[in-house]
């Protein structure tokens, strides 16, 4: 273990924190902590085994920028740890229990956020708070501000524009809850973001609004510096890998958009199909009322179609609630990622410009001035963070889409299985009396009804092999169709 783990991730370097009052100081007893336990994330150690002995005491935070090399190797180790799922986790966050609040001015929903953690940053092992969408939005903005070199996960859409969707309907609330849960879990899984103070406050503060009002500028050093990067520098050449990422994201977002449109179109067609089915089934019932022997079979078919309709309705609901929102989230995700990429470009541009300016001033010795060094440092950190996040993002994207698409396939399989069961169950109903009649087939059937005509008198008509003629007069209709697939 290197002597200065905190320096590896300057974005959360306690350097800036030391200047600030403890965010949790002066709060209620539930959150009271010792004055000296400024959260100083020792990521490596905290990740590994939560061994508190390894956490550096206050104050011993090294100054100066970390070298990108060590940060990336650190991140690699972290990534490894990420893969050992569950065992090395020391932070669990869940969103559940939506509740409606009716006030004079407005009505809104809050969700319960449950946090369990062994990290020192949390004074208590467990927290339970209630938050509303606004609060999530606040958190995200804060994260973007304070961690501009990282990719912040997306939130579900703020406004529901399409259709007449009830903001308080069970389905909508559940969809949103799942998305908010995913949002927090993504942050939890992130080795840097999960240690962010705003995140901590969000998870633990009794009164979040008070904190919001305090207007704490818990900006990291890099955050602070990136914030002040002026635009207007022209980027000379984007490193290949970031150019590739940019192109990838462009195409990715495009394809997702197409998939979203296709999925919506499918749902729309399915709903229209459902409408027709709902009219189709009952007609068999109407017919059944006219008939004697056919009444039961017809009624059976009607019920069957009804069951299929219900199954279809469930499919469309599932797709709307589970599939579309995730697609949209990823589109939002890639949008926010693109803006981070732009910022990175800006940082690089500024550095290059300053470097060039220095090169032109021949009086200066080859020694590089401090502010240009800062720029370089900034840029390299940004690049490292972004690269690491991109890899992480690629991995979870792959998992997420695998799960999403498998889920879509599953729902369709379940739909067909339900329909299959319905139709298979009425076959015996339809066939039972057929067996009884089989024996009296063709010839004798005529004979028994026409006493004056003997069996031998009839023209026995052989049917042509092709299946279609068989369906009209034959008995083997059922056997004909089974083998089509």
């Amino acid at each position: 273990m290197s002597g200065g783990p905190p320096k590896a991730l300057p974005s959360t370097g306690p350097h800036s924190l030391r200047d600030m009052p403890h965010p949790l100081a002066g709060s209620s007893s539930e959150e009271a902590v010792g004055g000296d336990s400024t959260p100083s994330p020792d990521l490596l150690t905290a990740r590994s085994f939560g061994d508190k002995d390894l956490i550096l005491p206050n104050g011993s935070t090294p100054a100066g920028p970390a070298s990108p090399a060590s940060s990336s190797s650190l991140l690699n180790r972290l990534q490894l740890d990420d893969d050992i799922d569950g065992e090395t986790r020391d932070l669990f966050v869940t969103v559940d229990d939506p509740k409606k609040h009716v006030c004079t001015m407005e009505t809104y929903i809050t969700y319960r956020i449950t946090t369990k953690s062994t990290r020192v940053e949390f004074d208590l092992p467990e927290y339970s708070v209630r938050r509303r969408y606004q609060d999530f939005d606040w958190l995200r903005n804060k994260l973007e501000e304070s961690q501009p070199t990282h990719l912040i996960p997306p939130l579900p859409e703020k406004f529901v524009v399409k259709g007449v969707v009830d903001r308080f309907s069970e389905e909508f609330v559940e969809t949103r809850r799942k998305a908010l849960d995913k949002f927090l879990k993504r942050i939890t899984d992130h080795p840097v973001l999960s240690f962010n103070e705003h995140f901590n406050v969000f998870l633990t503060a009794k009164d979040l609004n008070a904190h919001k009002k305090q207007g704490m500028a818990l900006l990291t050093r890099v955050g602070e510096s990136v914030k002040h990067v002026t635009g207007g520098y022209k980027l000379r050449s984007r490193p290949l890998e970031f150019a590739a990422i940019g192109e990838y994201l462009d195409t990715f977002a495009l394809k997702l958009g197409t998939i979203d449109r296709i999925a919506q179109r499918i749902i729309k067609e399915e709903i229209e199909y459902l409408v027709e089915l709902r009219e189709y089934g009952p007609v068999y019932s109407t017919w059944s009322a006219l008939e004697g022997e056919l009444a039961e079979p017809l009624e059976g078919v009607s019920a069957c179609i009804g069951n299929c309709s219900t199954a279809l309705e469930e499919l469309t609901e599932d797709m709307t609630e589970d599939f579309l929102p995730v697609l949209r989230e990823y589109i939002l995700y890639s949008d926010s990622m693109k803006s981070v990429l732009k910022k990175r470009d800006q940082v690089q541009a500024e550095y290059e410009a300053k470097l060039e300016a220095v090169a032109l001033r021949k009086e200066e010795r080859p020694k590089v001035p401090a502010d240009v060094e800062k720029c370089q440092d900034r840029m390299e950190c940004f690049n490292a963070d972004l690269k690491a996040d991109m890899e992480r993002w690629q991995n979870s994207k792959r998992q997420d889409f695998r799960q999403l698409l498998m889920g879509m396939a599953d729902k369709n399989i379940q739909y067909y299985e339900k329909c299959l069961m319905a139709w298979e169950s009425i076959i015996p109903l339809l066939q039972e009396k057929q067996e009884a009649n089989q024996e009296e087939e063709s010839v004798s059937r005529w004979a028994s009804k026409m006493p004056s005509v003997t069996a031998n008198s009839l023209l026995l008509v052989k049917l042509k092999p092709p299946q279609f003629t068989a369906t009209f007069l034959g008995t083997a209709a059922a056997k004909v169709f089974v083998s089509n697939y």
Binding site: L405, M406, Y415, T454, T471
Partner: protein, 450 residues
Amino acid sequence: MEQAPLDPERRLQPAPLEPLGLPDAGLESVVGEEAEGPRDEGPGDGTMTENNFWLKKIEISVSEAEKRTGRNAMNMQETYTAYLIETRSVEHIDGQSVLTDSLWRRYSEFELLRNYLLVYYPHIVVPPLPEKRAEFVWHKLSADNMDPDFVERRRIGLENFLLRVASHPILCRDKIFYLFLTQEGNWKETVNETGFQLKADSRLKALNATFRVKNPDKRFTELKHYSDELQSVISHLLRVRARVADRLYGVYKVHGNYGRVFSEWSAIEKEMGDGLQSAGHHMDVYASSIDDILEDEEHYADQLKEYLFYAEALRAVCRKHELMQYDLEMAAQDLASKKQQCEELATGTVRTFSLKGMTTKLFGQETPEQREARIKVLEEQINEGEQQLKSKNQEGREFVKNAWADIERFKEQKNHDLKEALISYAVMQISMCKKGIQVWTNAKECFSKM
């Protein structure tokens, strides 16, 4: 009862049977050169037991359809489709079938045949023809009569019609039907020579009877209601089914778009690429599977259509009964009024209005001789009327008996066929579900490899 010995060498021998109710069908005179060998005369009493029973297995098929151009009645060029009808006799010995007849017919000739059967067998529920024009179409189906799919389905429908007629115990023996299968040229003239068009009941007369009849057999009234409702419900069913097919088609086809976009997406992915690409292929398979599925369903629709048209045939039998019953009632009424007149003339009381009565009043009484003459005429008429009434009564009863027998036969056939149709429909649905499960399972596996 005699039975014709099974003799594969012998050509198809019809036993010309007088159509019921028409003592002098005049068919005897229509003899094609094919008729050879011993033939039983069909007696005019309309029973079947005495006739020549012949056991002959034949196969009838409408095997081909061909577009033709020709000149129509107004010497204008027209395009029509001709259908090849082949008749084979099935030999027992070596199981081989020998082609005995083969000729081409067009739809209008089928119509002619059916109209003839309707006139000569009014007590029979005559099998219907497939629709003249494409109805109940959905967007993918063409409403064009020359469309190959429509022609194909019609070919099957026409074959089915012939098979139904051939397997009907009474209709199969009809000479005109036999000639339809065997005599290409001149058949139309032959049919027309029977003069059946003249014997057909006018629609107006039938309509009138339907409204005015006082005492029809209750069963026929019920049957009429049933056939009306059956027509209505099957039409409704076919219309909605067409819409359902349309929508289902849309659902499947849109999935095909996934194929393309997955393929494009896979191009920018490293590990996910293969899984996406192969999943996309399965989406294409899924999208294209709907064509066969819906083609099969069209045959189900055709089976329903047949019974939709059968409902009309049922109605026709009911109409005939109403007509006969009305005729009977009118004859009875007429007879009663004549009797009344006679009585009045005899007794001198005038209760009924008659023109003679009026003129007598106006211009003076008639002489006793005149009256006697009138009475005599009336008595003759009454006699005749009573004879006619008796035979009409008998005819009516015969008709009811025979018609009802055929209706029972039809009911059995209908129940059997429709149950079969429902079973095959269920089987189609099951097959569709299984295909769906297969495709999505394959896709799921591809996704799992992403």
